[in-house]
Amino acid sequence: MIRLKNVSKIYPPNVAALQHVSLHIKPGEFVSIVGQSGTGKTTLAKLLFAEEHPSCGEVIIGGWDISKIKHSEVPLLRRQIGVVFQDFKLLPKKTVSENVAFALEVAGASVKRIREVVPQVLKIVNLHDCGDRYPRQLSGGEQQRVAIARALAHKPKIIVADEPTGNLDTINAHEIINLLKKINEFGTTVVLVTHNREVVNHLRRRVITLQDGNIISDEEEGRYRL
């Protein structure tokens, strides 16, 4: 599903965010990428949805080498990968339903499809009663669930979550992780970027640990070891 072959990312003038990283994530896996701040976790996540391009090496998603992806092809890739961020990235002037619908609107989905999909994904994240509310009327955990619902709108095969619990308290963080587990159980590959020890240890799934841009451990049922 996701394969990185000897990937490095060097920012000018000579800052290496990732160095010769190789990894393989199989379809349906739930992988946590952990490490301290500045170890290259977010850079790795950005490579997966082509927000960044590797300085060298190959990034292959579902057989598609996106290392040198054309600018015009990036939207197609992003419709197959759901992305969730720490700061939710919701539009404050749109309601919950409109925020989710926005992802489908800009991709050219029909009104009929939007009317079908939006309630479905809001139900998955347990916000089916909050469609008419605005982000400011929701708690942090609920806002992150809206972001996840939006990420699910295209029915992606991969969800990349970059520090999704970073702005949340423990209870809300657990809710979000449980939601990601539920999505993973439906067959979606989840790549979770985090430095939350409790979350990683609770998950008991594969853990890839980064340090100074290198993978220092890759364990099937790992724990947070830094």
């Binding site: 015009s72 197609l76 992003r78 419709r79 990235k89 992802a103 991709a107 029909s110 709108a153 295209h154």
Partner: protein
């Protein structure tokens, strides 16, 4: 079609969410349109004035006293045969005397001087009207024909020449002033459109980043800004039309009375409205879109 409707929807959202910026942009474009319309009106007025003066211009050729009627008629038929000549009027000495008396009926001193001269002091006269003002020098040259040049006392064209020259001088100056004003307004409009798009991009930066993340194509993100430029031009055109059309209807009778035309102003601005306003709109929309494209190239990274 679906995407086009969504692009139009986003363009209207940009337009109304930055209402004050949009208002300034539309105002400037409206001023530009009005300047173009005033310039076109001015052009019509100067054309009408030139036509009017040209219609009144003629060369009056006075023959020496004692010249035979046959000689004068010979000159008249020669002039009529010239393609540049529209019409040749024939005035006998008696008619000239009667005209003179009628004209100065209230001036006994002038009439008394006639008595002192004794007899008819007027010779034959030809009034030559050319097809165009440019033909007069050629007609004056033709009057030097050897068969009748010795009979000619005077050729009077000078005063009209001065009027025509000063009229075309005023026309050129007015046009230059108009074009300069137009260029200034257009430059300001371009800068304002550029700034509006820049600010709109800044205001929508969050929305743009989310659009990119959820898979919106680059052209889909850019297109609403171009459509917005189109909306600016269309709104400005409608507002300027709402000013120009009533103004034309009000000024048309005055224009006709002054320049002796027949609904020329109305026929131009209302009869040919599709072309006049259509071309203005196409020009403004292209300029606005070019300005928008430049602003996007600089500030919108998608």
């Amino acid at each position: 079609m679906r995407l086009l409707l969504r692009i139009i929807k986003f363009a209207f959202q940009h337009f109304f969410r930055n209402f004050w910026l949009s208002l300034v942009t539309v105002s400037m474009l409206t001023l530009t349109f009005l300047t173009v319309d005033v310039l076109l009106g001015l052009n019509l007025a100067t054309d009408a004035a030139i036509n009017n003066v040209e219609k009144r211009v003629d060369v009056s050729v006075t023959f020496k006293i004692g010249t035979e009627e046959a000689e004068v008629k010979n000159a008249a038929s020669y002039l009529r045969s010239l393609p540049e000549v529209e019409d040749v009027g024939f005035v006998t000495p008696d008619e000239a005397l009667t005209d003179f008396k009628t004209k100065h009926a209230n001036n006994p001193t002038v009439l008394a001087s006639l008595d002192e001269v004794g007899g008819n002091p007027f010779g034959y006269e030809l009034i030559v009207r050319a097809r165009s003002a440019d033909n007069y020098p050629m007609i004056l040259e033709a009057l030097d024909h050897p068969s009748f040049r010795d009979f000619i006392e005077a050729k009077d064209f000078t005063s009209h020449e001065t009027v025509l020259a000063s009229l075309s001088d005023v026309t050129v100056k007015a046009r230059w002033f108009g074009f300069t004003l137009l260029a200034i307004f257009l430059a300001i409009a371009v800068l304002i459109v550029f700034n509006t798009v820049r600010v709109t991009i800044f205001v929508h930066r969050e929305e743009i980043s989310i659009m990119r993340l959820v898979g919106a194509a680059g052209w889909f993100i850019r297109a609403p800004y171009l459509v917005e430029a189109f909306i600016f031009s269309l709104t400005a055109l409608i507002i300027s039309g709402l000013v120009v059309v009533p103004a034309v209807l009000i000024f048309n009778p005055l224009f006709d009375a002054y320049f002796e035309t027949s609904s020329q102003l109305q026929n131009f601005f209302i009869g040919q409205a599709f072309w006049v306003f259509g071309l203005e709109f196409v020009g403004a929309a292209l300029v606005c879109m070019a300005s928008t494209a430049f602003a996007m190239r600089r500030y919108l990274k998608v």
